[in-house]
């Protein structure tokens, strides 16, 4: 090239060529960025869907157990197994509880090298405690119980809604979900300073579960609460709930760290959680609460409730004592024993089939709460009618009947009162549920939160209305993980604040905390905890997160193998072994219900398609296969079930393990399987279950160690994070430059 071409022409050609090259590179790079963004989004989706469907599964399980409770005859074994689980903390003298939780006879051995606490706490002690936890020390159970007892006493004095002010020049620091991630709390303290008289803090719930240092976080927060009761405020989160803790790791953590006194500690924590305040209001203008609001949220109602009656937000408190006091006629009537009342309740109200209850959310159960008064009335009328017909129809009897009818009418009045009282209990319960579980949405209105199974989704119009009714200007809430650690919505009237960085995986998200001065302008600071030994570029961490999300997803897919194969075969009527990509995506969504972009994901999940672009699904499963332990003698389908429902299985185990010892009897083990088979609507042969039991009870002592069981069947998920437990806290100046500050004007 170049013959007879002038120099300027040549240059021109070069330029054009260069520009074309540059444009190509631009195109390519932008394509790359767009693809990365897509990946990041669906990775996020994967983790979030799995997390929320886990919460939903937990609630479903809970509902199922409640259904069992209400509908099995009292003598049934299954019911006994779980009845203790639902027994509310009886109205008990505080002094009795204090005796139960007494720490005084717990001896601290000489070799204990952790902190020793004396009460009342001092700043030095608390600082020392924080340091000890930073250095992986554990606080002795004696001191734990002591600290918790003091905390319990303190919390009981606090109102449901704390009202605080920035007065003069105090800035208030607000933190969101911590989820047992001690590193993040320490990072916040490092950047912002620890709580003090001049540095008030609000912690907005979800201190526990999922992370590894939940109990340490609690102990730190409680210590500061005791030190500075007017300057440290704790709001309850949906994870401050012993039922949720069974599934999400807090129960396990406590029992592992405190083998001897863990049960007592957990019991005391149940009470403490129920006494945690529900919300905080700053300068009468900013509302801080964990989940959110609904179109019926009323701060006046919330301020009045007896919050401690709601030991778990998942179940309203029993009302029997209420109904007996208002219906005095009741006590004389001994035909109305619990059993017949129960039978009446089953026949009178629309039967819930076992199929339907699984799809119900907590909202749907609120109806059943209303029943007691109404059906007692109904039953009473029937009883009188029976009497009536038994006595025969004569003039006199009509008189008796009339008198009876009058008595019934008289009985109706207190019934109405109690119906009202019960209605307000139901209303209270909904208020609390909404407060702890709701999420904002972009569309207007208010709909039940089907995804989580509790609370609702509320829209910007509901926010507007709520704020104006209560003369507020901002809602600060947590409950949802956000990539930047925070996110505004609803025209900047709602701020979501999340303080657990790297929540889904290393590099998945930043954490953030909020500072509010007297001007009440939100100032946000972001951070991301990371081990000293590991620094990943943004690109690398995004890649890792995606990698682990996909790994988790593949496991999920594999654990639904049978259902998926069925679904594929439905679409592959001619039994070719192939389905189109469209059909594949449709079948997978139909089985998994995760709402993920399957077509986009298929590149990552299916290694190859045949020449026509069809998917060989059996081959696909062979690729997905997870290495299983050598359990050839165990039925394949049983193993798959075990794997898929491992979380539920473990939860049921822990429920059945009434004394929280980590071990259950063979008998209970079988009962557990019966429960599970009812719940899953599957049949397990006695033989299959015996095989399982035998293979795990290696020492033949007739009891089964839950942990060993889960381990043996490789049912425990290795945490998708790195071994973070022993990560170092950053303390050098150079590391500070890596901590980013956020732009408050986003």
């Amino acid at each position: 090239m170049g013959c007879g071409v002038s120099k300027s022409n040549q240059f021109h050609k070069q330029d054009t060529k260069a520009i074309k090259a540059a444009v190509l590179i631009q195109h390519w790079y932008r394509q790359y960025v767009a693809r990365m963004e897509m990946k990041r989004r669906y990775t996020w989706n994967i983790f979030q869907s799995l997390e929320y469907s886990g919460e939903q599964a937990q609630i479903k399980l809970y509902n199922f157990l409640g259904y069992l409770m209400d509908n099995f005859t009292p003598s049934s074994n299954e019911r006994n197994l779980i009845s203790h689980f639902f027994r509310e903390n009886e109205v008990c003298r505080d002094s009795e509880w204090e005796r139960f939780f007494c720490y005084k006879n717990i001896e601290v051995p000489e070799i204990y090298s952790g902190p020793h606490l004396t009460f009342p706490l001092t700043v030095e002690q608390v600082t020392f405690l924080v340091d000890a936890f930073r250095n992986k020390r554990q606080l002795h159970s004696r001191y734990v119980l002591q600290l918790l007892l003091q905390t319990w006493k303190m919390l009981r004095m606090l109102p449901n809604i704390s009202r605080i002010s920035t007065c003069q020049s105090k800035e208030i620091t607000i933190c969101g979900d911590l989820h047992g991630q001690l590193e993040d709390l320490l990072l916040i303290f490092y950047k912002n300073g620890m709580p003090s008289l001049d540095r008030p803090y609000v912690f907005n719930g979800d201190f526990v579960d999922r992370g590894e240092d939940s109990i340490e976080i609690l102990l730190i927060l409680f210590s500061f609460l005791l030190l500075y009761p007017n300057d440290v405020h704790l709001n309850r989160g949906n994870h401050e709930d012993h039922i949720i803790n069974l599934r999400y790791g807090f129960t396990k953590e406590v029992l592992t760290k405190y083998k001897m006194h863990g049960k007592r500690i957990l019991k005391l924590l149940q009470k403490i959680f129920s006494w945690l305040p529900l919300a905080t209001v700053i300068d009468q203008k900013v509302l801080v609460l964990h989940g959110g609001i609904s179109d019926t949220t009323d701060l006046c109602v919330l301020a009045r409730v007896d919050r401690h009656k709601y030991v778990s937000a998942l179940r309203p408190p029993k009302k029997r004592h209420l109904s007996t006091t208002s219906m005095s006629v009741d006590s004389e009537d001994d035909t109305w024993s619990g059993a017949s009342w129960r039978r009446a309740s089953v026949t009178l109200h629309k039967p819930l089939t076992r199929g339907t209850f699984q799809n119900l959310s907590l909202q749907d159960f609120s109806d059943r709460v209303k029943l007691p008064a109404e059906e007692q009335l109904e039953a009473r009328r029937r009883h009188l009618n029976l009497l009536h017909s038994a006595c025969g129809q004569s003039q006199q009897e009509l008189g008796v009947a009339a008198a009876a009818a009058a008595a019934a009418a008289a009985a109706a009045e207190p019934a109405q009162d109690s119906a009202e009282v019960i209605h307000s209990i139901e209303e209270e319960w909904k208020q609390i549920l909404d407060l702890l579980w709701s999420d904002p949405m972009t569309q207007p209105g208010c709909v039940p939160n089907e995804v989580r199974g509790g609370g609702c989704y509320w829209g910007p119009d509901v926010t507007e209305d709520f704020l104006s009714r209560h003369h507020l200007q901002l809602i600060v809430r947590s409950h949802e993980c956000k990539q930047e650690g925070y996110e505004f919505c609803h025209n900047r009237k709602v701020l979501t604040l999340f303080s657990a960085s790297n929540y889904y995986d290393v590099g998945s998200n930043r954490g953030a905390y909020l500072k509010l001065g007297p001007d009440l302008v939100p100032y946000l600071i972001q951070y991301q905890a990371s081990s000293m030994t590991r620094e990943l570029t943004v690109r690398q961490s995004a890649g890792r997160t995606e990698h682990s999300a996909l790994r988790v997803l593949r496991k999920q897919l594999f654990s639904h193998k049978s259902d998926l194969i069925c679904a594929f075969q439905e679409l592959d009527k001619e039994n070719t072994g192939l389905v189109s990509l469209n059909d594949w995506a449709m079948a997978v969504e139909g089985v998994m219900h995760l709402g993920l972009p399957w077509r986009m994901l298929h590149y990552q999940l299916i290694s190859r398609k045949n020449s026509n672009g069809m998917v060989n699904y059996l081959q696909w499963f062979a690729e997905l296969a997870i290495k299983e332990p050598n359990m050839d003698h165990i039925e394949q389908s049983l193993l798959e079930t075990l794997y898929r429902h491992r979380s539920t299985l473990e939860t049921i185990f822990r429920i059945v393990d009434t004394d929280n010892s980590g071990v259950i009897t063979m008998q209970d083990f079988r009962q557990t399987w019966k429960l599970l088979s009812v719940y899953l609507k599957m049949e397990f042969t006695e033989e299959a279950i015996s095989d399982l039991a035998v293979s795990i009870d290696s020492n033949r002592d007739g009891s089964i160690d839950i942990h060993e069981f889960m381990e043996a069947f490789r049912l425990t998920d290795k945490k998708s994070r790195l071994e973070r437990g022993r990560s170092m806290f950053m303390g050098t100046a150079t590391d500070l430059t890596k901590l980013e500050t956020g732009d408050p004007n986003v």
């Binding site: 060529k17 520009i19 540059a22 590179i25 631009q26 195109h27 790079y29 394509q31 990365m36 690109r539």
Partner: protein, 102 residues
């Protein structure tokens, strides 16, 4: 508000409008690695095997849709080798292609 959304949708599609004719090939052929490498080699007029950040920036600011400041910074953050402060484009391309395929 709506026009903003429209604009964003438009821009998103434009990324894939390779022939700049307001059409998008939904089969998404990615830019082949050798073509990309050739493109870099064209820009590396002195055939050094690397490019200075300024050099690259200069080129990326050309054409109908030059890179924004932010895009430039992002690209440089992953392209520039921290020790020598230049862009070894061959490695850069291999790395990104690998990412894209994973």
């Amino acid at each position: 508000m709506v026009s903003e959304v429209h604009k964003r949708i438009h821009n998103a599609f434009q990324v894939f409008d390779h022939d700049l004719n307001k059409t998008v090939d939904v089969r998404f052929p990615p830019v082949p690695e050798d073509m990309l490498l050739t493109a870099f080699e064209v820009l590396d007029q002195q055939k050094k095997g690397y490019m200075e950040p300024d050099e690259l920036t200069n080129y990326m600011r050309q054409g109908d849709e030059p890179f924004t400041q932010q895009e430039m910074e992002e690209m440089l953050s992953s392209a520039v080798d921290s020790d020598s402060n230049v862009v070894y484009y061959k490695d850069f391309v291999s790395m990104m292609i690998l990412d894209g395929e994973r």
